[in-house]
């Protein structure tokens, strides 16, 4: 209040007084702009207070028009008395915040259009504050009140705009729209919100690429720090990009910002990784380049890219396991045709037949639990679902070679166990059609070495369990079966 009136007396002096800090900041901003390099400790330390201090002038500047407007009502007229003081405080705070902002921008490793805009917004705002304060002192002059009102309006607009830009710097360019609900997004013409994508567990990305980022990038671009709003600790974050948008262009390594930066010469400003960290070695660069070139997909199988560069550094990658969601509608559809037959069979043979998993229409049959109570005749009942059975265990049941056609009808079998049954080579002969078979168990049966050549017709066979049969260790084994025969 008193401040206002004293300034009113020395109006030209006050212009001079206000001119010097503005001049100082403008000079600093013009001649020592942000360079994107991390700089002097002290300056940066002081600069780090910018985000803290900056909220004072924001609040104070917004308070002034409130005091002025509400103070026009007689009941609150006393409020107008303090508006000059608040404005003065706001001006001082804005000046300090602008100075701190320059400190941070100059030394904190910032650069780019966003920072420049935010900075000039701040500088202009400081100047507008000073102007308003001076006008506040001249309020009795003709037209001064008009200019004063206009100045405050400009100030409020500047606060909003500069604040938004600042938010974009610290929170990412899309910090307002990122989690905006779909209806609102549509209203302002944005596409739907996309949840984070996931790479599959055995994908090229999960097995090979992620390890490189984990080793070299995530200390700054990870869960603890997200420089430039970028995280590289999962496929989803990588594809979401940073505050400047996407860092990858699918299929175009050279056009991808991430690849461009890690392949620059280390003395360039944009080069990554920053500081004293080792550049990404050539074999890993090649790997990333090939992966982006192949479409940068999270589902690309790990062996999809041939002629990879040799390099030990990628072998010991941690392998992430993901859990696919079960698509209930798809499962119900796949099971539709057999569901009635399954229910009937489960009723007749409780506990021995079930789906392989909650998400599948494949079946597991374990008749071994019924022992000799299960025979050739019972097997006929499973004919309607035969081609859905992938695992079948008939160990210790009463089945004989007469079951062979029923077993052969199970063309999708992966695992077949016939241990300790009366089956012979004739059943093995009938298994030609079961070309998905990976594991065949004839432990303790009458199967002989004559069955061995028949197995060559089973392309996927990995294990042939033939202990306690006429097949004994000394026997000559066909080339294809070496390593698969278990005795």
């Amino acid at each position: 209040m008193t401040m206002g009136s004293s300034l009113c007396a020395g109006r030209y002096r006050s212009i001079l007084v206000s001119f010097s800090p503005i001049l100082l900041i403008v000079i600093l901003v013009m001649f020592l702009p942000p360079e994107g390099k991390e700089g002097a400790q002290w300056v940066q330390f002081i600069g780090r207070f910018h985000p803290l201090i900056v909220h004072f002038p924001i609040a104070l500047i917004l308070l002034v028009p409130v005091l002025e407007v509400v103070g026009r009502f007689e009941r609150f007229s006393y409020l107008r008395l303090s508006s000059g003081f608040v404005l003065g405080l706001a001006t001082m705070a804005a000046t300090v915040a602008a100075f701190l902002g320059w400190c941070l921008a100059h030394t904190g490793g910032y650069s780019g259009q966003l920072v420049t805009q935010h900075m000039w917004g701040g500088v202009t705002l400081t100047a507008v504050c000073w102007l308003c304060w001076i006008l506040r002192g001249w309020i009795a002059e003709p037209n001064a009140e008009k200019y004063y009102a206009a100045g405050l309006t400009v100030g409020v607009l500047l606060v909003s705009w500069t604040g938004y830009r600042g938010g974009q710097i610290s929170q990412g360019e899309e910090h307002f729209t990122e989690y905006m609900p779909s209806p609102l997004r549509h209203a302002i013409g944005l596409p739907d919100y996309k949840p984070l994508a996931q790479a599959t567990a055995d994908s090229f990305y999960a097995v090979r690429v992620q390890a490189i980022f984990t080793e070299r990038c995530v200390t700054c671009h990870g869960p603890k720090k997200q420089k430039s709003g970028l995280r590289l600790d999962s496929y989803g974050w990588l594809m979401r990009g940073g505050k400047h948008g996407a860092v990858l262009k699918e299929g175009n390594a050279r056009g991808s910002d991430l690849f461009r930066r890690i392949t620059l010469s280390p003395d360039q400003d944009d080069f990554m990784p920053k500081g004293k960290k080792q550049p990404v070695p050539p074999d890993q660069l090649k790997l990333i380049e090939l992966w982006i070139g192949a479409g940068a997909s999270g589902a690309l199988p790990q062996d999809a890219i041939k002629n990879l560069p040799a390099g030990g550094s990628v072998a010991a990658a941690p392998i992430q396991v993901s859990f696919p969601e079960i698509d209930r509608v798809a499962v119900a559809k796949a099971r539709e045709k057999i569901a009635a037959a399954i229910a009937q069979l489960q009723d007749k043979f409780p506990n021995i037949l079930d789906y392989e998993s909650r998400g599948s229409a494949d079946l597991v049959l374990n008749a071994s639990l019924l022992g000799t109570k299960f025979g050739d005749a019972d097997l006929q009942a499973f004919a309607p679902v035969a081609d859905h059975i992938t695992v079948a265990d008939f160990s210790r049941t009463a089945i004989t070679d007469r079951a062979a056609p029923a077993i052969a009808a199970m063309t999708h079998l992966r695992v077949l166990r016939l241990a300790q049954t009366k089956i012979t080579d004739r059943t093995i002969k009938a298994l030609n059609a079961c070309n998905q078979l990976q594991s065949l168990n004839v432990y303790g049966t009458g199967v002989t070495a004559a069955a061995l050549p028949l197995l060559e017709k089973l392309p996927k066979l990995e294990h042939f369990y033939a202990g306690q049969t006429a097949i004994t260790p000394g026997i000559s084994v066909p080339q294809d079966l070496t390593g698969k025969l278990v005795l």
């Binding site: 567990a201 941690p318 392998i319 992430q320 396991v321 859990f323 696919p324 079960i326 409780p350 506990n351 021995i352 079930d354 789906y355 392989e356 998993s357 909650r358 998400g359 599948s360 494949d362 597991v364 374990n366 071994s368 639990l369 160990s395 210790r396 695992v415 166990r417 241990a419 594991s439 168990n441 432990y443 294990h463 369990y465 202990g467 306690q468 278990v486 005795l487």
Partner: protein
């Protein structure tokens, strides 16, 4: 479930959390007179979308259910070495420790550490037994385990296990229930709850003890905790009656037993109609199972039905609670579709306080007791094609120190090591895991993990994964939480060891 039962179940599930939550959202519904059952039913159908249902008919609580994903293994044989066997005498080859044997332990090893018995400055202690490299994978193993060494290419070692418990009972609880405190469901109970069991004439979760004593954690280690009691482990004996009082007493035949059970069933059903307690239905189911077990369990546990050659391979003794006998029983149970077979062998707590606990004496006996049977079990499972969908786990509850124990700061008569929760070794074999590999690494002294630490919950999550589950989805509502085996801390499936 009948409506009355549903209401009982809902009331049992009500907790302070539910009450507080319903203060906000539930007041309106109470005012409008919506019944509690409707409210809960609505919640349930909503939950159905995101979680898996493990609902079963009340009279067949153990009926099999498919896993969430196609499973790599369909059953587990867990060989727990109670007392914490010394990894430094078995699997951890540390020549540098051997070189420094007898020297004072560096101060950095002791700063900020708590020990059960070590005090003052202990001496470093090199391995008491020679090691050799073996198998195609060229892994190191001590000369105490010559039979297991033959299977080294079937084994996946995790040498970087760690725990946060350094006393036996809580550490064993952590290994078996995912929590060091009492009242939580054991791994076997979770598996039984999630998958049920195929053979309804045998318990789905069987526990066999050897080594002369029960593990320190006691029956809590195979308890069902907050899960319905029907999922708890059933402790069986490997000679005589498998379950005490299972067989009919003299002058009672099977027909008379049936008549008696029918009468009890009648009364139970009346009680159930009157009070609607689901535990009554469980009881009816248990009586029926015991009746069926009279035939099948006695047969499954009877190792005299195995040929002499097989019993010799395992090193079985005619009678007694021997680890060898239990291993052979385990194989017979695996064949018969038992879901979870848990063996405990007691006596590995090698402090060196007496001859039985000495690394150079009692420890060697323990090795002899388990080496041949463990190897025979692996060989037998492999030969019969069972190993491809069985997971075998071998390990204790924590590790042992590279320092020699010096109880009360004095050199002891026998050689022993203190507890080390910071690093220990377990191994896995069978379907689901890579063969002939080692995951994780400790420092040159075998004291601290330097690469790929594995927490118990990571191991549990990985085992559940092999059994076809996402550990987040195998849950049970209790005390306002969706309880799970891996508890609330994030657990990681160890992708590196999966086949």
């Amino acid at each position: 479930m009948a409506n009355s039962e549903l209401q009982v179940a809902i009331l049992q599930a009500q907790t302070r959390r539910h009450f507080l939550r319903s203060l906000g959202s539930g007041m309106g519904s109470l005012v409008f007179g919506a019944s509690l059952a409707n409210y809960a039913a609505a919640n349930e159908s909503q939950a159905e979308k995101s979680t898996l249902s493990f609902a079963r008919n009340a009279t067949t609580p153990l009926s099999p259910l498919p896993p969430q994903f196609p499973a790599k293994v369909r059953r587990v044989i867990y060989l727990h070495m109670a007392g914490a066997p010394s990894q430094l005498e078995l699997y951890e080859y540390k020549p540098e420790l051997k070189r420094l044997d007898g020297q004072d332990c560096p101060a950095s090893f002791l700063a900020g550490k708590r020990f059960a018995f070590i005090s003052g400055v202990p001496k470093l202690l090199g391995s008491q037994y020679p090691f050799k490299q073996t198998g195609q994978s060229g892994q190191w193993i001590s000369d105490r385990l010559p039979h297991i060494a033959e299977h080294i290419d079937d084994i996946c070692f995790i040498k970087s296990m760690r725990t946060d418990q350094f006393n036996h009972a809580p550490a064993q609880l952590l290994v078996h229930t995912g929590n060091p405190r009492l009242g939580y469901a054991s791994f076997g109970s979770w598996v039984l709850y999630g998958l049920g069991t195929e053979n309804q004439n045998l318990p789905g979760f069987i526990v066999l003890l050897s080594g002369g004593k029960s593990p320190d954690g006691g029956k809590q280690l195979w308890s069902s905790g907050f899960l319905p009691s029907v999922y708890q482990g059933v402790q069986c004996r490997s000679h005589g009656e498998p379950v005490l009082y299972l067989n009919n007493p003299p002058r009672v035949d099977r027909a008379l037993r049936r008549t008696m059970l029918d009468a009890i069933d009648d009364i139970d059903r009346q009680t159930h109609a009157e009070f609607g307690n689901p535990e009554t239905v469980t009881r009816i189911a248990q009586y029926e199972m015991a009746f069926r077990m009279q035939m099948d369990a006695t047969d499954a546990m009877d190792i005299s039905k195995e040929p002499e050659s097989v019993r010799t391979k395992y090193g079985c003794k005619p009678a007694g609670a021997e680890f060898a006998n239990n291993c052979l029983v385990a194989r017979r149970l695996a064949e018969r579709g038992v879901r979870f077979i848990q063996l405990y062998h007691w006596g590995w707590d090698s402090h060196g306080a007496d001859a039985k606990e000495a690394l150079n004496l009692g420890f060697a006996d323990r090795c002899r007791e388990v080496d041949q049977p463990t190897a025979a079990l692996l060989a037998d499972l492999k030969e019969r094609g069972l190993l491809e969908d069985t997971l075998v786990v071998w390990g204790g509850e924590f590790g042992r120190t590279p320092m020699r124990e010096n109880r009360n700061g004095q050199e002891m008569k026998y050689i022993g090591r203190d507890h080390n929760p910071g690093a220990f070794t377990i191994w896995l074999a069978g379907g689901g895991v890579k063969h002939g590999i080692t995951h994780g690494q400790t420092d040159e002294m075998g004291y601290e993990i330097v690469q790929n630490p594995v927490d118990i919950r990571d191991l549990h999550a990985s085992m559940l994964y092999m059994l076809g589950f996402d550990h987040h989805k195998l849950t049970y509502s209790f005390q306002g939480l969706e309880q799970k085996l891996t508890s609330v801390k994030p657990a990681r499936v160890i992708g590196e060891i999966l086949a």
